[in-house]
Amino acid sequence: MNNFFGIDFITVILVICIGLYTLLLAKNMIRMLIGYELMTKGVTLAFISAGNANGRIALSQTLVITMIVVEVVSIATALAIVMLIQKKNHSLNIRKLTNLKG
């Protein structure tokens, strides 16, 4: 059982690396959000495998359910903001978003 925990956490770390890489290198704002989504998937897996390892699987499931609700609302809000930016700027490129400087 302990070994499974190890495999799961390696997977979690890898997925978070993929998400972070996407977040840092993407130019498209929607792709940045996809990176964020990948990272939250990693965290979901981390919660459940932690709960599986220490026996409190029911508690970890309740936490994951709350987390999914929170993440959906924040992704929806972020997508709304991206859409408004695209309406104003006519581009999804983050590098074109340089009005604030200093």
Partner: protein
């Protein structure tokens, strides 16, 4: 016995990499959906059916729909232009699979030092998910109510066009 775990992990990881490196956003979103399905299978395998169902319905269902909606709403204005502009797209993301394999190998061979000494006290738990959610996580439920209200008011106020803006 271990093999199916590996298959599930790869079912989760490979779509994740594809979602990151695919050039077209729509394909990325579909890869994300597949990745979510892989995660659901992993969760079922870890005895968490309820969380798995939530993941399947909300993350792979609702979020994919949201993403595809936004892409279809924003692409007509800038689709071809965006794709032609990111010529060096694959160059930037080429390093990703190798990096992931590299980190994976390092972690795999060091997992004894990371997780081997781990002492996890097993707690036996009798309550079901519903009991825990309603009896002990009351504050989280209030938080969920607040965040749903935030979502509703936020989206409504962001998209409401006032008279002065027209």
């Amino acid at each position: 016995m271990k093999l199916h775990i590996f298959i599930l992990v790869f079912l989760f990881l490979i779509p994740a990499v594809l979602a990151a490196i695919s050039k077209y956003l729509l394909r990325s979103v579909i890869a994300l959906l597949v990745c979510s399905v892989g995660l659901t299978l992993l969760l079922f395998n870890l005895n968490a059916p309820l969380a798995g169902v939530f993941e399947l319905s909300v993350c792979s269902g609702l979020i994919s729909v949201l993403f595809i909606n936004i892409i279809s709403l924003t692409q007509p204005l800038s689709g071809d232009e965006e794709v032609s502009k990111v010529k060096n797209h694959y160059q930037r993301f080429l390093a990703l699979p190798f990096l992931i394999i590299f980190i994976g190998i390092i972690l795999w061979f060091n997992q004894d030092s990371l997780f081997g000494t781990l002492v996890i006290q097993k707690v036996s738990e009798n309550a079901t998910v519903g009991e825990i959610l309603w009896r002990t996580r009351g504050l989280d439920l209030i938080g969920q109510v607040i965040i749903l209200l935030v979502g509703v008011y936020g989206i409504v106020t962001l998209f409401r066009r006032g008279k002065s803006n027209e």
